[in-house]
Symmetry: C2
Subunit: 156 residues, 2 copies
């Protein structure tokens, strides 16, 4: 699946991870190309699924979310059906900003934002615990985001 990327493609990916609003002209200059081939490369990276989209990165703090929590969820059953229902339900809950089905003691790891600890408590009790087939949850709060910007390495 991984398409062969040359040095130029990697430089473009790194640049666009840093700033998705760079113009093709700026990108082209940064990799010493003219705009046309640069534009074509970006299109190929988009169509091949390497670039899955472009996103404005928002500050949870500035939006009034003082609390970021990581919630580990243990399920009562491990049937396909239970997992499918659970996942479907998660997608509808905007406070859950990320979710992985994971190995280990717990089955899911959720990242949740809330206004403050009190509203997180309410959310945990009334929304998370009420999710189908949840056996146990364990919450861990983020004191500080040490790497706030998720950047996938392209060099290597």
């Amino acid at each position: 699946m991984p398409t062969a990327l040359d040095r130029t493609d990697k430089a473009l990916l790194a640049a666009l991870q840093g700033n998705a609003r760079l113009t093709v002209a700026e990108l082209a200059e940064s990799v010493s190309l003219t705009t046309s081939p640069c534009w074509r490369r970006v299109k190929i990276l988009e169509e091949s699924g390497i670039i899955t989209g472009y996103q404005a990165v928002l500050s949870p703090k500035e939006l009034g979310y003082g609390v970021t929590a990581f919630v580990s969820v243990m399920m009562e059953s491990h049937s396909q059906e239970v997992a499918r229902k659970f996942e479907q339900r998660l997608l509808e809950i905007p406070e859950i900003i990320a979710c992985h089905n994971v190995s280990g003691r717990y089955d899911f790891l959720l990242e949740v934002v809330a206004k403050d600890l009190e509203s997180f408590g309410e959310f945990a009790r009334e929304v998370l615990q009420a999710l189908p087939a949840v056996k146990e949850i364990y919450s861990s709060f983020s004191y500080k985001s040490v790497k706030p910007r998720r950047v996938v390495p392209v060099i290597g």
Copy 2:
């Protein structure tokens, strides 16, 4: 800190979280404004720190990273100095794509990408365990990203 956002600002934020490359003209139409006031609003959202940046979202899979792991790290000490050194060191390691200082049994939660399980094992042994003042690590692997795109809710 949270600036007062009206319905239009929220719509702009939602649109830009969905697609950071929307033109101002497209944005303006989606919120029934003309380009100038729309452009001004976006600038204000950027300057106020609500929009912290624009990022191309890349697919770890397509870049050859078959493994995403969540690594919980317990430290030997909880001194400021130890934490500071540890955090500084983390920032230099590109495979660690996210990191939070957290409450609970463990002190840090890292998100790590690797080519495959074997290379993750090597990374855990040679890089993670070798970090300063690490007492214990616990790794959990992602079988599947249920919510691949982190979107901070703006309605509320």
